[in-house]
């Protein structure tokens, strides 16, 4: 009976373990920190009095194992020909030992300022990809009043489609990306057509709609897991070597990711500010009945917002898959709350607020790793969300009447 009624979430008592022994000149070293990272999972451990460490991981996949040289005694470093961090993969057994050979020497330290710049660059990258998802969420909220909890599954969808068409069906990556984006647009079109439009016709209230979106999110997420399994898989060509731009090290994928985000965001801004459909969207967001009486086809505008929102979410998912790196069934859900935090921070229903909020959240999450352990980095962004609501509930760009 004991476990029969558990919620069915995966047990965290992992089956797979990395382990190792840290010794220097046959003496065990205590308190050396080892970090294992991969597929959105990260854990660290310190060596015990015998110099031993052990870290459980959720999947039998490849992980990046890092020995933190700052925790070694003075004058000891990881030997120069040893890779640190290194990628480790399981063999046939469920345990894998990773040992670092240590040598004498002084380590190359990265100055705090350089670390800060690096984190800042990563934060901007992360913030921009959050912004793509956040603007869609914000536009949907603005035009329909729905807090769409299924947005995370629209994010995951883009990455999963890219994985399917590039890794599984063997298309070149750029064609697979185009197909994935088109399918994302199609997902938005059909979600609105099959679920949201009929519900608007029935006059279902926004709170009910929100609960429907929660049910939809759960159903879609586990449908993904049903078909794709629980493992994290890598996209072809992910995590290439870093380029050094002064003190900042980024890969070319990071640079392309930032460039694409900026171009797409400028495009959305142009669409909203300069085109007829953008004006119509803003009119509907402002006051739907007034927009309808002045001849705007509200249903059509909402349909376009869903299609656009899903397309942006799909692109955001693709970039998130390269940023993590890896594709998994719940990758969108991992950042859903950050997207909500970004939207709330900027002001619910305002597109440009979502952009600013996303950049703040992205930079905050990355910078907080300078002081906080990295498995708490999302905590800081969520705490900021609550603090902002305490002092400026309408968000940075929001208007007071929206919070009533």
């Amino acid at each position: 009976m004991a476990e029969a009624g558990s919620t069915g979430t995966d047990s965290e008592e992992y089956e797979y373990f990395f382990l190792g022994n840290v010794q220097y000149e046959d003496e065990p070293l205590e308190g050396v920190e080892i970090t294992v990272e991969g597929g959105g999972f990260k854990a660290s451990a310190e060596t015990d009095a015998d110099g031993k460490w052990r870290i459980g991981v959720p999947e039998k996949a490849s992980y990046k194992v890092t020995l933190d040289e700052d925790t070694l005694p003075k004058g000891v470093i990881v030997a120069e020909d040893e890779e640190n961090p290194r990628t480790a993969e399981f063999g046939l057994t469920n345990t894998k030992s990773v040992n670092f050979f240590l040598g004498e020497g002084t380590r190359q330290t990265v100055s705090f300022f350089d670390q800060l710049l690096n984190r800042l660059a990563n934060g901007v990258n992360f913030g921009l990809l959050l912004a793509l998802a956040a603007i869609g969420l914000s536009l949907i909220y603005g035009t329909t009043g729905l807090s769409n909890f299924a947005h995370s599954e629209m994010i995951t969808f883009g990455a999963l489609m890219l994985l399917t068409f590039s890794s599984d069906l063997g298309f070149p990556v750029w064609i697979a990306i185009i197909i994935a984006l088109l399918l994302s647009l199609g997902l938005g079109w059909s979600l609105d057509g099959v679920i949201w439009k009929p519900l608007r016709r029935r006059g279902v209230g926004v709170i009910q709609l929100m609960i429907v979106s929660i049910g939809l999110s759960l159903a879609m997420r586990y449908t993904y897991q049903f078909f794709y399994g629980g493992a994290t898989r890598q996209l072809p060509g992910a995590s290439p070597a870093d380029l050094q731009l002064g003190p900042i090290s980024l890969s070319w994928i990071d640079l392309v990711s930032m460039g694409v985000s900026v171009v797409v965001l400028l495009g959305v801004a142009f669409l909203l500010m300069r085109t007829r459909i953008g004006k119509a969207t803003r009119a509907v967001a402002d006051n739907a009945s007034l927009a309808a009486t002045s001849g705007i086809d509200v249903d059509r505008v909402i349909r376009i917002v869903w299609v656009l929102g899903a397309g942006l979410a799909g692109l955001s998912g693709i970039l998130w898959a390269y940023y993590r790196p890896g594709v998994s069934w719940d990758m969108g859900f991992q950042i859903l709350l950050l997207v909500f935090a970004a939207v709330t921070l900027g002001g619910l229903g305002t597109a440009f607020g979502a952009l600013i909020g996303s950049l703040i959240v992205g930079i905050f999450v990355e910078l907080s790793t300078l002081w906080l352990p990295s498995d708490m980095k999302f905590v800081s962004a969520l705490v900021v969300l609550i603090l902002v609501l305490l002092f400026r509930p309408q968000g940075i760009l929001g208007r007071r009447e929206r919070i009533g």
């Binding site: 009976m1 009910q208 049910g215 919070i403």
Partner: protein, 327 residues
């Protein structure tokens, strides 16, 4: 061939299992929040986690007796409710939804992080806190006792008796509360906040009291939940909250017995369904793996939430008029 007997008896076990009691109690707390006050709390898993960890940490780290550990859990959940409520209860309903879901995740991440591993056990969680609770057990027999499918050990019976006693007390308490003047004010807030404010009531304070009461129910549910198992942080993910919402909507959000009935129906059906699918997969009826069979139930719960909200928002026991505030 499918062993129908074991599928039915496993489902029958869920009828009275302490897990069902825990979910019923958590859903009752949510009924106080949502069904009676109109508060969208999506952080019930956070309240349950605070109950579970509050109890386990008090016993393991500080060596508190059972009653002390329970009081610590309740105190922590009141503090948590105040932290949630102060910034959000003045704002529109969906702000509370976003903040509660974020706060529940913060709580789970704080219990998962390696930073506090000495106290929280990190991702592996905690166990070995049950001694004091079991020492209070008046039942003492070897092996299993009971009848039909309900054959349990003395410790299991103790979990069941305590769990359901707490549920019954909470149901009586809620029933008395909702027919008191306090309950009428709460329902008035649900229907029209401004009208209640115009009558000179302090809406903010009433909402806060409701948030605290429902949260304490969630905390007690968290304690019942960990008695038959260990405390593991991943159990308090957002999907736990969504399961409790499904139970609440199934039974009827603005009813006293709805959450209890909802929990029983939910777990019996889910156990029956999982048992059937698992056996059918073993027998080769469906071309899917056993892991996939386990995921089908989440898909089912998600679809059930959607259909219930659209087609029967009042649930099994509810009255449609009581749900007119959901708009």
């Amino acid at each position: 061939m499918i062993d129908w007997g074991s599928i039915f008896s496993n489902a029958a076990v869920e009828l009275i299992s302490p897990t069902t009691a825990a979910y019923a109690l958590a859903a009752l707390g949510l009924a106080v929040h949502f069904g009676y006050t109109g508060l969208l709390n999506f952080g019930q898993a956070g309240f349950m986690a605070i109950g579970a960890y509050g109890y386990a940490i008090s016993v393991l780290t500080f060596g508190f007796p059972v009653w002390g550990a329970v009081l610590v859990g309740i105190g922590a959940s009141i503090v948590f409710a105040l932290i949630l409520g102060i910034p959000t209860l003045r704002l529109r309903a969906d702000y509370l939804a976003i903040v509660t879901i974020a706060a529940a995740e913060i709580v789970r991440l704080l219990f998962t992080t390696n930073t506090f591993v000495a106290v929280t056990g990190s991702a592996n969680g905690l166990s070995e806190y049950k001694g004091g609770f079991r020492a209070l057990n008046p039942l003492s027999f070897e092996g299993k006792a009971g009848f039909g499918p309900w054959m349990f050990s003395a410790n299991d019976w103790w979990n069941i008796i305590v769990g359901w006693s707490v549920v019954i007390l909470a149901v009586l308490f809620t029933w008395l509360l909702m027919r008191s003047p306090w309950g009428r004010v709460i329902k008035g807030i649900r229907e029209d906040e401004d009208a209640v404010r115009a009558l000179g009531k302090n809406v903010y304070s009433y909402k806060m009291q409701s948030l605290i009461i429902g949260g304490v129910f969630g905390t007690l549910a968290g304690m019942i939940f960990i008695m038959p198992r260990a405390v593991i942080p991943s159990a308090y993910a957002t999907s736990l909250t969504f399961f409790i919402w499904a139970i609440l909507l199934l039974g009827g959000a603005a009813t006293i017995l709805g959450p209890v009935l909802g929990s029983i129906v939910f777990w019996v059906l889910l156990s029956f369904f999982s048992g059937f699918i698992a056996r059918a997969v073993e027998a080769g009826w469906f071309p899917i793996s056993e892991v996939q069979a386990g995921q089908l139930r989440f898909i089912l719960v998600g679809v059930a939430i959607m259909l219930l909200v659209i087609f029967r928002p009042q649930g099994l026991l509810g009255n449609k008029k009581e749900m007119s505030f959901v708009k």
